[in-house]
């Protein structure tokens, strides 16, 4: 068991038993898949850094580093392929994608496997801090636990100042659930957080933004570049996109709006007329609609075609030429019915609707009473304006989940 802090400043002795310098850094090769392994060490003389290859190292221990040759070093230039453990990793902030936390690297844990030294983990414990302060001999330190994070759970934070500009683009973060990524981002500074959001795929970024605490969200949004934000909004359900726009400052809103596609901009402009926690403010324009005279097969096709852009496909809303809501048909009915039948023959004609001004509590009551997943919002003429889905109402009922 070896810690990086124990290697730093250790004497380097060459094969003639001559003192060379003190160790300044350890260089590892990182392919992003396996544990990185040590390829050499670095020392400093004057202003220059020198590199000694691992094959020239006889022993690597906390007492000293001995070499099997002399004059076996070369000037070290910046090298994108390698990580310098002290300079690039030590003391930086990282994501622990296993326990979903933002932590600071207090020490690095190296293990000799075969002939190679591998970087297997990161120590984030307070014990490591005390070790580096030279206070390991304090009596209570013995009872403290080290806290190691496996290297495979480590994800660098994008855009962090320092030299890790993602030479090794780890994609571990993308595999997490959006809600978990959101939690991680909430623990960063805004600067880092906005960098992380912008480094994700637009689709993922949209999902993540939807999960971020409202209080943090408005300041975070201001930090995201308008062009990127517009792209992310394109991927978002319209109701959420409208909320995001509403959270922006007037200045930023205009900038983002200019960059939206015409279609999205039109829908969002319409939705933005309604405010706050009433059905009008909660509703989305992303719902499946079908004409009553179409067949079941048409409806199923429509679902297949549109399912990518509409998250909510469990009900198809039956709407005539003049936008008047005629009925609702569930995906279950569509699957179980004869595909040559017309929609008008299988749809439920009991219309349960709300107005744009209905409060979210009343929407919730309605959804609960009739066991619905969504409810249509209609105007006085019975024309459909949008739908409110249960998850949007839940968010208001249980705000801090």
């Amino acid at each position: 068991m070896l810690y990086l802090s124990q290697l730093l400043n250790v004497k380097i002795i060459d094969s003639r038993e001559v003192f060379v310098a003190r160790l300044k850094d350890v260089v590892v090769f990182n392919d992003g898949k396996n544990y990185p392994y040590v390829v050499g060490i670095i020392f400093q003389k004057g202003k220059d850094l020198y590199f000694i290859k691992f094959e020239h190292i006889e022993t690597l221990s906390t007492a000293e580093v001995t070499l099997n040759k002399f004059d076996c070093w070369s000037v070290w230039g910046e090298n994108e392929k390698f990580l310098l453990l002290n300079k690039d990793v030590m003391d930086e902030q990282i994501f622990d994608v296993d326990s979903i936390k933002v932590v600071r690297v207090n020490d690095l844990h190296l293990v000799k496997i075969g002939d190679l030294f591998n970087l297997v983990g990161i120590d984030v414990s307070n014990k490591a801090l005390l070790r580096r302060l030279g206070l390991s001999s304090l009596p209570f330190v013995r009872f403290m636990q080290v806290k190691l994070i496996d290297w495979h759970s480590v994800n660098f934070i994008q855009g962090n100042v320092g030299s890790i500009k993602l030479k090794t683009p780890f994609k571990k973060l993308e595999k997490l659930h959006p809600a978990d990524i959101a939690n991680l981002i909430e623990n960063l500074t805004l600067h880092q957080g906005s960098n992380v959001v912008q480094s994700l795929h637009d689709e993922k970024a949209a999902e993540v933004l939807a999960e971020i605490e409202p209080k943090y969200k408005d300041t975070l949004l201001e930090k995201i570049n308008p062009r990127n934000l517009a792209r992310i909004l394109e991927e978002m359900p319209t109701d959420e996109a409208a909320d995001v726009l509403q959270d922006l400052s007037e200045h930023k809103r205009l900038l983002v709006f200019k960059r939206l596609s015409e279609r999205k901009a039109k829908v969002l402009n319409r939705l933005s007329k309604y405010k706050g926690n009433v059905a009008g403010g909660l509703m989305t324009a992303d719902y499946m609609r079908i004409h009553p005279q179409n067949t079941i097969a048409d409806a199923v096709d429509e679902i297949r075609r549109k399912s990518a852009e509409h998250k909510f496909i469990y009900h198809v809303f039956v709407v005539d030429e003049s936008d008047v809501l005629k009925g609702v048909v569930s995906i279950r009915t569509l699957i179980l019915s004869d595909k040559h039948l017309k929609v008008v023959n299988v749809m439920s004609k009991i219309l349960i609707t709300v107005k744009t001004t209905t409060s979210y509590e009343n929407v919730a009551r309605l959804l609960t009473k009739y066991n619905l997943l969504s409810v249509a919002v209609v105007d006085q003429q019975g024309k459909i304006k949008g739908i409110v889905t249960i998850d949007d109402v839940m968010r208001l009922l249980v705000p801090h989940a």
Binding site: R104, E186, Y216, H251, N269
Partner: protein
């Protein structure tokens, strides 16, 4: 929500946008500047005016520029790197320097918090409110605002508090000072060759430019979430903050100079100043002074405690943010510890407050040089700052300010030690 239009903004719209932008950026500078006028600051200004009349105003004038420079450095570091000062020191210097700076600042802050409570207690004394009611009430309300409020709410409370400092401006005007003499003494240096004069002068600088103030201004700019493109506006914000801070200080000094100094009345703290002011400037002036002190102490209490929590969590990787509770238990833990433990200590009868405050100033003196050297090194780090790094001109000005600051505080330490 207003109708959104995709149309290109007209010139008028452009102007409107610009104003909106400035308004959205203004705040941190005013708040962080004003927070330097805490209970210790108000006391120093009151004593300076009562003991030396207008003769200390030129130092205040000088300090305004130094404050503007140091605050700008902190704001720029925060805006460009998006990180707090403790984190930057940890990442760019050694863990030992980090621990030293952070722990000393933490200790000095605890003493500072005691001073804020002392301010609150003395206002309570003026109005005959028992301390054991006033102190817990103050700590609970500050805890409540910071713990329950979002960043925006906290900022609004702070901004309101910053403008309440106007009470001192009114008190200053009511004391009918000799304006001509005041302005003259502000622009023309004058010395009194006594140890006390020098001591007060250094204290005046020391209460305005502090280690915690430097940490606070940077963290605040990081959390405010202004992008570095708006640096220009933030710079003005900071300068306005420095101006407002010492504008208020000017009126405090003027108020006590025009009344207490003229009549040869000596005071030891700001609350005494309030009481002593009544016969000269009227009862209203007394109330303005007392309420001003209460306001300053409360703001200082919140800001210094928050900074302690920021600095500790950031340096040791127990990160947390102002607006998140569940995730940042250590942040709120440290915040609560600072606020409540010091509230208990101030209630100890016969607490020797003066030695504690002197000790705190000494600690500040040890940290400031290291802190400013780190800040200047960071500001000159091209990898970190890009094109926002220090220019030669800025370097000269900032090094001069730092050398001046460090020299003055070192002299203070020597003088204090010699006095004992």
């Amino acid at each position: 929500m207003k109708e959104i239009s995709g149309k290109k903004p007209s010139t008028w719209m452009g102007l409107k946008l610009k104003i909106l932008l400035i308004l959205s950026v203004v705040g941190p500078g005013i708040i962080t500047g004003t927070a330097d006028n805490d209970a210790g600051g108000i006391t120093t200004y009151s004593v300076a005016g009562a003991s030396f009349g207008y003769k200390m105003l030129w130092i205040l004038f000088l300090v305004t520029f130094i404050l503007a420079i140091t605050q700008e450095m902190g704001a720029r570091l925060g805006l460009v790197t998006g990180k707090g000062l403790a984190a930057l020191i940890r990442e760019n210097f050694s863990i030992k320097i980090t621990s030293f700076v952070v722990l000393i600042t933490f200790l000095a802050n605890l003493a500072n918090i005691l001073a804020e409570y002392a301010g609150i207690s003395s206002v309570a004394d003026i109005y005959g409110v028992p301390r054991w009611i006033a102190v817990p009430l103050a700590s609970l309300s500050i805890w409540f605002v910071v713990y329950k409020g979002s960043f925006k709410v906290v900022q609004k409370v702070f901004l309101t508090s910053s403008f309440l400092f106007l009470s001192y401006v009114f008190a200053g005007i009511m004391s009918k000072p000799d304006w001509q003499m005041a302005f003259n003494d502000m622009l023309v240096p004058s010395f009194v060759w006594t140890g006390e004069y020098f001591y007060t002068a250094v204290a005046l600088i020391g209460t305005t430019i502090t280690a915690w103030g430097q940490f606070f201004v940077q963290s605040y700019f990081v959390d405010k979430g202004i992008s570095s493109e708006h640096l220009k506006y933030s710079r003005w914000d900071v300068f306005m903050g420095a101006f407002w801070t010492n504008f208020v200080a000017f009126f405090i000094i003027v108020a006590t100079a025009a009344t207490l100094y003229k009549s040869g009345i000596k005071i030891d703290d700001a609350a005494q100043a309030a009481t002593a002011l009544a016969p000269f400037a009227g009862v209203l002036a007394k109330h303005l002074f007392a309420w001003g002190l209460l306001n300053a102490s409360l703001l200082g209490l919140a800001v210094v405690s928050m900074t302690s929590a920021y600095v500790m969590t950031e340096a040791f990787g127990w990160e947390g943010r102002v607006d998140l509770k569940s995730e940042s238990a250590s942040y709120y833990g440290i915040f609560a510890f600072c606020i409540f433990s010091m509230a208990l200590i101030i209630l100890i009868p016969g607490l020797p407050l003066i030695p504690i405050l002197v000790g705190s100033q000494m600690l500040n003196t040890f940290v400031l040089p290291i802190l400013f050297i780190c800040i200047l090194k960071l500001l000159n780090n091209g990898k970190l700052m890009g094109d926002k790094k220090n220019s030669l001109f800025m370097n000269v000005i900032s090094w001069l300010s730092v050398i001046f600051l460090v020299g003055m505080s070192l002299l203070l330490v020597i003088m204090t030690l010699l006095n004992r």
